[in-house]
């Protein structure tokens, strides 16, 4: 239990570092030196030192938005097995709860954006409402896949202990599909290229960044921290899927976990360096690919798992 809480705290604290890594990789591909690796910590500290400016149009929802979205992600992380270790809490059906609590976070992010009366933020909000619909369908398809294999509806039944490893040995091939599908979901849910561009300052091309245009100071810091946590939530799952090995040697699971994380973040950075953002009307097709992959994977299991 203590160990789980420590891992949870460590994941939250380390999340900004890993996100900084993506910037470094992009800079490397662009032939630049790039910002320091700890840039996100500096940004957070800077934001927390500042005061806030609120728009005259806003209400209490605007202030509630960052709090709820951060709390939602932190709750979700509590149910996630980190480095194959048992999560802090776990119950039958917790996956559904986790997905819906992330949905609650999204509701408030959108509501906070709509609160500002800004047409740009409305645009971002509309997109933020749109793409995750398909993502959610894909997520639940993946859950159906996992349920067929494990017969459980629990994050800890998928990613804790040696469960992931035994999954690979029984249905390795379709699981590859799932990894890819999940990577697409990660890119969409965390507003990365090719769905969204977190780097541009052209409001019209963005989804998540444009929604938080009006947040400032510590509130904005909470949002940033929330999005770092969200990225590490999804990355942890993929990390566990690609390096599912269980070991009793002290520290090795953590090392494996971090290696997995590095692979995921480098992959995200690579994707961002080599692909441009899709045109908005192409994005649904891209996201639907993840659903199709998960669907095929599930169909294949019909043969493997009777």
């Amino acid at each position: 239990m203590i160990q789980s809480i420590l891992l949870w705290l460590a994941a939250i604290l380390a999340a900004p570092f890993f996100s900084g890594l993506i910037l470094k990789i992009k800079a490397f591909f662009g032939g630049k030196k790039g910002p320091p690796l700890l840039i996100n910590y500096y940004t957070l500290i800077k934001l927390f030192k500042k005061g806030s400016v609120y728009s005259n149009s806003t209400t209490f929802v605007f202030k509630l938005g960052p709090v709820i979205s951060l709390a939602a992600t932190m709750t979700a992380l509590m149910f996630l097995p980190i480095a194959g270790h048992n999560p802090i809490f776990s119950f039958k059906g917790d996956v559904i709860f986790v997905l819906y609590i992330l949905g609650l976070g999204r509701f408030f992010t959108i509501a906070a954006a709509m609160d500002t009366a800004s047409p740009f933020e409305g645009m971002g909000a509309a997109r933020e409402a749109y793409f995750p619909i398909i993502c959610e369908a894909a997520m639940f398809m993946i859950l159906i896949f996992f349920y067929r294999i494990t017969g459980e509806l629990q994050l800890s039944a998928y990613f804790a202990g040696n469960t992931t490893q035994s999954m690979w040995s029984s249905v390795g091939a379709p699981l590859l599909f799932i990894v890819l599908s999940f990577f697409i979901i990660l890119l969409t849910e965390n507003s990365r290229v090719p769905v969204d561009d977190p780097a541009t300052h052209l409001e019209l091309t963005m989804i998540h960044e444009v929604m938080v245009l009006d947040h400032s100071g510590p509130d904005f810091g909470l949002i940033e921290l929330g999005s770092f946590c969200k990225l590490i939530f999804y990355s942890t799952i993929i990390s566990r899927m690609i390096l599912p090995f269980e070991s009793s040697i002290f520290g090795l699971p953590i090392v494996l976990y971090i290696t997995g994380l590095l692979v995921v973040y480098v992959a995200v950075g690579l994707t961002e360096s080599v692909i441009a953002r899709y045109r908005m009307d192409k994005v649904p097709q891209f996201v639907l690919t993840s659903f199709a992959l998960a669907f095929f994977a599930t169909i294949i299991t019909l043969e493997f798992v009777k």
Partner: protein
């Protein structure tokens, strides 16, 4: 039950006095609520019957299922009655209000009678009273032709539905020779399936199942808001009750029933919310959401039926309990939403979403309760919609290993629930964002203030109920389990223990989240104490002259999602392009077509009209020939007897 009668009798005498009517109605409902909730918590059944001239007997029977629906009916009716006190204050015409309250009390009483009726005759009688009294409530604003049209449409649909139900009951009587609602034993399976299909269509048209939902988006905006709350919150649920009751009577567990119910549920669920996204009228939008939620309920019931057919008690109970609990949940948050919409309509005089904006500043209580209800209807934790959806999800997942057809069905159910959830979130962020947030788009929206204690108190109570059920669902799940038990699924006593675990987990997770929110909020407010906080305009990305008209509207918000679903929801747009060097004023108008409505006009209404046009020669006004028709019919019938 007595409460319903009491309010009926007394309200009839005092129709002119609004206050007394409200007091009696809500008091009566409260009595009914206490009684039915008591029945649910302490097992026990009640029988009452009256004989009329020995011709037929009116008998009533309250079991777990009836008691559950009674609880929902009385709870919502009570709130709606209190709400109406201030909502109706601006209306003129004593007699019109009197009539309105008379039919309102009739509606409450007849709904209570429908769910307690113990034989076919009683059921049909109460069913018709319910349909007629709600029809008169819909045409309350009969001065406008739109409302009259809505009333007419509702009248036609409800009677065609009743015809199907009557057909099903006729078959039951024909095969059993008894009017009683008793489980049928030796009736051919094909007949049972036919009975189920007929009654499903009949009850489905009341419940608003796609494609029989066409009347809903017309009737709900036409009725006064507290009536919409009752109609959408509980009256359409009597259709669900009918389906469940027939299912219990048929006592025949075939997966076909499950498949029909589930597919109808999926269609209503997804299409309902897609059409809702395209609406500009807030009450029409909510009406389409009723279609969506009926879909979710049916998915749950369908899963339960599949579970019963494959002999898996866990799936059965999870599915049925989820569906039945969603009946209560939907009645709570939907009536709350209609009350919120009613407040907006009452204070601004418009139902158009795109004409409003920024209402949260003037309407704190309405806005906050509306947001809570929106979160609940999206099925987000820690609110009540999540609990029932969670049960349905669990049931659907548990049915995955039960065979290939069931597997396909459960994939269908799970994915559509996920999509419905996402779409509902998009739809309600649209309503909340455009109506309650941002800047007011018109003068009326700018000056809107909330008013009327009698309107705000019920909203507060219902919002509290959303949170309480969301965090402590245990009692309510137990009530739903009692209702499931009444379906006679030959499992005997439904064990409470395993479901107690689920509800315990939900409570725990919800509390965990709330504690985390409070911690962050607390830290934030302490931290912010020393900060400099300034207010200024919204950052316009360098543009310094923004106008409120530049805000994202509901139509633009939903635009791209609707494009994705354009096959099912074709969009008609009216937008003359801007031409020339000095463009003249242009306008934009869009309308989402409901394919059910579109095809029903082309495929059903036109041919029927054509046919009847050709038969017109039969009706000539000659009374002698009419008598001749009657004689001819009787003679013809004599051959068959």
């Amino acid at each position: 039950m007595l409460g319903g009668f009491l309010s009926l009798v007394l309200a009839r005498q005092k129709t002119l006095s609004r206050g007394i009517a409200v007091l009696l109605l809500s008091g009566g409902s409260l009595l009914g609520l206490i009684d039915s909730a008591g029945k649910l918590l302490n097992p026990g059944e009640a029988w009452t019957s009256f004989n009329y001239l020995d011709l037929f007997s009116l008998s009533f029977h309250v079991d777990g299922l009836s008691a559950f629906f009674l609880t929902a009916i009385f709870a919502v009716s009570m709130m709606a009655a209190i709400y109406s006190f201030h909502y109706m204050e601006n209306e003129e015409g004593g007699i019109k209000n009197g009539v309105n309250y008379f039919f309102f009390s009739m509606l409450i009483a007849s709904m209570a009678l429908v769910v307690t009726a113990a034989n076919i005759l009683t059921f049909m009688l109460s069913w018709e009273i319910m349909s007629l009294s709600s029809f008169f409530l819909v045409i309350y604003g009969h001065e406008s032709s739109e409302n009259r049209k809505a009333g007419y449409l509702y009248f036609v649909f409800t009677h065609i539905g009743a015809m199907f139900v009557l057909g099903a009951f006729g078959l039951i009587y024909g095969h059993t020779g008894s009017f009683d609602f008793a489980p049928m034993a030796d009736v051919p399976e094909a007949v049972k399936i036919l009975i189920f299909v007929l009654s499903f269509i009949g009850f489905g048209s009341k419940a608003g199942v796609f494609p029989f939902h066409v009347w809903l988006p017309h009737a709900h905006p036409a009725a006064p808001s507290h009536i919409s709350a009752v109609m959408s919150g509980v009256m359409i649920k009597t259709g669900i009750y009918g389906i469940l009751r027939i299912y219990a009577i048929l006592d025949f567990h075939t997966p076909i029933f499950g498949y029909i119910t589930l597919i109808a549920g999926v269609l209503s669920g997804i299409l309902g919310v897609v059409y809702a996204l395209g609406q500009h009228d807030i009450k029409r939008l909510l009406a389409y959401h009723s279609v969506e939620n009926i879909g979710i309920i049916l998915i749950g019931l369908g899963m339960g039926m599949i579970g019963a057919a494959t002999g898996n008690p866990l799936v059965t109970v999870l599915g049925f309990a989820g569906g039945i609990l969603h009946v209560l949940n939907h009645s709570i948050f939907k009536s709350l939403l209609f009350m919120g919409a009613g407040m907006v309509l009452h204070q601004t005089g418009t139902r158009s979403i795109d004409a409003l904006g920024g209402l949260l500043k003037g309407m704190k209580i309405t806005g906050t309760t509306f947001i809570i209800a929106s979160l609940a209807i999206c099925g987000l934790p820690p609110f009540n919609g999540f609990v029932s959806e969670f049960f349905i999800y669990m049931g659907s997942f548990k049915s995955i290993p039960l065979g290939s057809m069931t597997f396909a069905m459960s994939i269908f159910a799970i994915i559509s629930l996920a999509v419905i959830g996402g779409l509902a979130l998009a739809c309600f962020t649209k309503v909340v964002g455009v109506v309650f947030q941002g800047e007011p788009r018109t003068k009326v929206a700018e000056n809107a203030k909330e008013h009327g204690v009698a309107m705000m108190v019920p909203m507060g109570i219902l919002a509290a109920a959303c949170v309480i059920i969301g965090v402590y669902p245990k009692v309510f799940i137990n009530m739903a389990l009692k209702a499931v038990q009444a379906l006679g699924l030959d499992y005997g006593q439904v064990p409470v223990e395993p479901f107690g675990h689920i509800t315990g987990n939900i409570t725990f997770a919800a509390l965990l989240f709330l504690v985390l929110v409070l911690i962050i909020l607390g830290t934030r407010s302490i931290y912010y104490r020393k900060k400099t906080v300034t207010r200024s305009g919204t950052w316009g990305c360098g543009f310094t002259q923004p106008t409120v008209k530049m805000q994202y509207t509901g139509s633009s918000y939903a635009g791209s999602i609707l494009e994705f679903f354009s096959a099912a929801a074709p969009l008609t747009e009216d937008h003359p392009p801007i031409k020339g060097r000095f463009p003249v004023k242009t306008h934009y108008h869009s309308h989402v077509n409901d394919i059910a409505e579109l095809h029903m006009i082309n495929a059903v209404v036109r041919p029927v009209l054509y046919l009847f046009d050709k038969l017109r020669w039969m009706q000539h006004g000659d009374i002698h020939l009419y008598i001749g028709y009657i004689l001819l019919t009787i003679i013809l019938l004599l051959f068959f007897i």
